[in-house]
C-alpha cells in the first residue's frame, strides 16, 4: 500500500470532500495561500479561493463563534487552530454554544463544525504549544473527540468528521503528524466510525489501552516485552468521545489485566474514565488492579531534559506493563 503522512491523509479527505460539498469552508490563521502552518490545506486555496479557505485575524473566539453561526445556517465550517492551545479563548463558544446548540434547539439545528488542532508534548514547543485537552472536551456533553494514531485512521476518521452533524474535535499529535503510514488508494472510500476502538496488537497477558503518540510507543514496548515472554494486547481508542468500552472489556475478559497509557494528565483523565468503567462493567474480570501511566501533572517545560521527564518514556511504559503483569 502507498504511504502517506497524517497531514497528507487528512488533506486528501478534505480535498475530496470540498470538491463535492460546497458548504464546507476552512477558517484559520495561515490556512489560505500559505496552506496551513502544518500543510493541512496546501493547494486548496488555489482551487477554492478565499471564501472557502478563509484566512483570519488572531481572533480565535471570534471565528469559532462565527463558525457556530455558519453551521446553524447551513454551512460546514472547519476551524484549523494549528496548535490546539489556541482554542482556549473560544471555550465559551464551544461549551456554551456549539456543544449545546442541538440540545437547546430540540434537535432542529445541527452543528456540523470540525475544530482541529495539533496536540502533544515534544520538540521543546514549551507550555503554550504542547497541550492536549481531550479529557476536558470529552467531559462536556455534545462533542465528539478524535485522537488518531496513524495516517490510515486519521483519514478514515476525518472522512467521518466531514459528514458528521455533530461538532468534532479532531486532534493530531504534532510529533507524529509528519510520519508516514499505509493508506489505501484514493478510490477506497473507507470511513471509520466514531466510537470504534482498534485492537492494534493481539495479546494474551495484559491489555494496554492508549491513543495518539503513546499508542505507538506502547506498541513498541509490547514488541520488546514479547521478547521477555509477555504477550501484550494493545487497544487504540482512536476516539475519546465516544469511548469504545465494549472493545476494551472484551480484551480485559481475555487478559484479566489492564493498563491505560496516556500522555496527558492523570487526574480526571482518560485512564480515570476507562478504569471507572472497567470497575462498573468488568470488575469480575480483573485479576489485578487496573492501572494507568500518565505524563506528569505539570505545565510543560521547555528544556529538553525537563520535557523528556514529563512524558511517559518507552522504558516507563515497558516497566508499567511488567508491573501490571506481576501484580
Amino acid at each position: 500500500m502507498r504511504e502517506l503522512t497524517f497531514t497528507a491523509a487528512t488533506r486528501e479527505a478534505l480535498t475530496e470532500r470540498m470538491a463535492v460539498d460546497p458548504s464546507i469552508f476552512v477558517m484559520g490563521e495561515g490556512i489560505g495561500p500559505r496552506g496551513g502552518n502544518f500543510g493541512t490545506t496546501l493547494g486548496l486555496y488555489e482551487k477554492h479561493g478565499p471564501l472557502r479557505l478563509c484566512d483570519t485575524p488572531i481572533a480565535e473566539r471570534g471565528f469559532v463563534g462565527l463558525a457556530c453561526g455558519a453551521a446553524m445556517t447551513g454551512a460546514r465550517p472547519i476551524v484549523d487552530f494549528m496548535f490546539l492551545d489556541f482554542i482556549l479563548d473560544s471555550v465559551g463558544e464551544i461549551f456554551n454554544q456549539i456543544a449545546k446548540m442541538q440540545y437547546m434547539s430540540s434537535g432542529r439545528l445541527k452543528m456540523p463544525v470540525i475544530l482541529r488542532g495539533c496536540i502533544g508534548i515534544g520538540s521543546s514547543a514549551a507550555t503554550h504549544h504542547s497541550s492536549s485537552y481531550y479529557s476536558v472536551f470529552a467531559h462536556v456533553p455534545g462533542l465528539r473527540v478524535i485522537v488518531p494514531s496513524n495516517p490510515h485512521d486519521a483519514k478514515g476518521l476525518f472522512r467521518t468528521a466531514l459528514r458528521s452533524d455533530d461538532p468534532v474535535l479532531f486532534l493530531e499529535h504534532k510529533n507524529i503528524l509528519h510520519l508516514k503510514g499505509p493508506v489505501p488508494d484514493e478510490s477506497d472510500e473507507y470511513t471509520i466510525p466514531f466510537g470504534l476502538a482498534n485492537v492494534a496488537r493481539v495479546g494474551r497477558d495484559v491489555t494496554v489501552v492508549s491513543l495518539g503518540l503513546m499508542l505507538r510507543r506502547a506498541l513498541e514496548a509490547a514488541e520488546k516485552l514479547a521478547g521477555e515472554g509477555i504477550s501484550v494486547e494493545v487497544i487504540d481508542l482512536r476516539t475519546v468521545a465516544p469511548l469504545d468500552m465494549p472493545t476494551v472489556l472484551t480484551s480485559l475478559k481475555k487478559t484479566g489485566r489492564i493498563l491505560v497509557v496516556d500522555e496527558t494528565f492523570a487526574p480526571f483523565g482518560v485512564g480515570a474514565e476507562v478504569i471507572a468503567q472497567v470497575n462498573e462493567r468488568g470488575f469480575d474480570d480483573l485479576d489485578a488492579p487496573p492501572a494507568r501511566l500518565n505524563g506528569a501533572h505539570t505545565p510543560t517545560p521547555y528544556s529538553p531534559t525537563l520535557e523528556a521527564a514529563v512524558v511517559p518514556s518507552f522504558d516507563a511504559i515497558a516497566q508499567a506493563i511488567r508491573d501490571v503483569v506481576a501484580a
Partner: protein, 302 residues
C-alpha cells in the same frame, strides 16, 4: 409593538403568579427596535439575540403562545421547554436563538452572514445585543470579522443605558457606541431607539446595503428599559425615578401613535386584537403539558 408590549406584560404578571420558573427579562420600552428592524426581514434571514430576547422572537414571527409556553416550561414552547426565557429557538421562522451568555449572538450573526455570502444567498444575519455587550471582546472580534469579509450582517446595539445596574457611562469612556464602527472601517449609525420609524429607516438602508453586497453596518439605538432588569429584581439605587418617568413619556408605542393622529381607530383596533391574542396565548400555555422527564437527554447529538 403591541404584541411585544402586551405579551411582556402578560409574562410579568405570570412571573408574579409563579408560572415562570426561571429568569424573565422584559423588553418593555424597547419595542420600536425589534419592530423597526424585523419589518425588513423574512424567515430566511437569520436573527440572533441575547438574554432580553422576547421582543426579537415575537417580531421575527414566533407566535406569542409559543413564547409564553416556553417560559411556562411547557412542551409546546418554541424550545419545547428545554430553553426558557434565555434560550428561544424557532429556526423555522429564522429565529436562530437567544443566549444566556452575553456576546455570542454577535459572532453567530457574523457566521450567518458568512454562510449567506459563501452560498450566494441574498439573506442577512442580524444580531441584537445590549450596550453591555459592546465592551465585550466578542463585539471587537465579530464586527472586525464581518467588516473584513464584507458580510451581510447587521449589528443592532440596543443601548438602554445600563447593563443590569452598571451605567454605560461607567463601563466605557466613549458611550457613543456607533462611533466604534470606525475601528473596523464599518458604517456606524445612531438612531433614536424609541422612534420606530427612525429605526425602520436606518435598518432598511443597512439591510438593503447588506443584501446587495455592501457589507455590514452597526446601528446603535438609544433607548431605555422601563421595567427592572429582570422580573422580581429591585429597580432602585442605580437610576432615578425621574429618568424612568422621562423615558416612559417617550414610550415608543405612544410616539408612533402621536405621529399618525388620523390612525387612532386603527391603533385601538390593533390593541384590542392583540389583547385577545395574548389572552388566548396565556390560556394555551397554561393548558399545555410539561415535557416528560424521560426525554431530558434527547437531542444532545444529531
Amino acid at each position: 409593538m403591541q404584541v411585544i408590549r402586551q405579551t411582556e406584560e402578560a409574562l410579568a404578571r405570570s412571573h408574579q403568579a409563579g408560572l415562570i420558573h426561571g429568569a424573565c427579562h422584559t423588553y418593555v420600552g424597547e419595542e420600536a427596535i425589534a419592530a423597526g428592524v424585523c419589518a425588513h426581514l423574512t424567515h430566511d434571514d437569520a436573527l440572533f439575540s441575547t438574554h432580553r430576547g422576547h421582543g426579537h422572537a415575537l417580531a421575527k414571527g414566533v407566535p406569542p403562545r409559543e413564547l409564553i409556553a416556553e417560559l411556562f416550561g411547557r412542551v409546546t414552547g418554541c424550545s419545547r421547554g428545554r430553553g426558557g426565557s434565555m434560550h428561544l429557538f424557532s429556526p423555522e421562522v429564522g429565529m436562530m436563538g437567544t443566549s444566556g451568555i452575553v456576546g455570542p449572538c454577535i459572532l453567530q450573526a457574523t457566521g450567518a452572514g458568512y454562510t449567506f455570502k459563501l452560498l450566494g444567498k441574498p439573506h442577512v444575519g442580524v444580531a441584537f445585543f445590549g450596550d453591555g455587550a459592546s465592551n465585550n471582546g466578542a463585539f471587537h472580534e465579530g464586527l472586525n470579522l464581518a467588516a473584513i469579509y464584507q458580510l451581510p450582517t447587521i449589528f443592532i446595539c440596543e443601548n438602554n443605558q445600563f447593563a443590569t445596574e452598571i451605567a454605560i457611562t461607567y463601563a466605557t469612556r466613549n458611550a457613543d457606541i456607533w462611533t466604534k464602527a470606525a475601528s473596523f472601517g464599518m458604517p456606524g449609525v445612531c438612531v433614536d431607539g424609541n422612534d420606530s420609524v427612525a429605526v425602520w429607516q436606518a435598518a432598511g438602508e443597512a439591510i438593503a446595503r447588506a443584501r446587495s453586497g455592501g457589507g455590514p453596518t452597526l446601528i446603535e439605538c438609544k433607548t431605555y428599559r422601563t421595567r427592572a432588569h429582570a422580573e422580581g429584581m429591585r429597580d432602585g439605587g442605580y437610576r432615578s425615578a425621574e429618568d424612568v418617568e422621562k423615558w416612559k413619556a417617550r414610550d415608543p408605542i405612544k410616539m408612533l401613535a402621536a405621529r399618525m393622529p388620523q390612525e387612532q381607530a386603527e391603533f385601538a383596533a390593533i390593541e384590542a386584537d392583540v389583547k385577545a391574542l395574548v389572552e388566548e396565548a396565556v390560556a394555551f400555555a397554561k393548558a399545555s403539558p410539561y415535557p416528560d422527564g424521560i426525554t431530558a437527554t434527547e437531542h444532545i447529538y444529531a
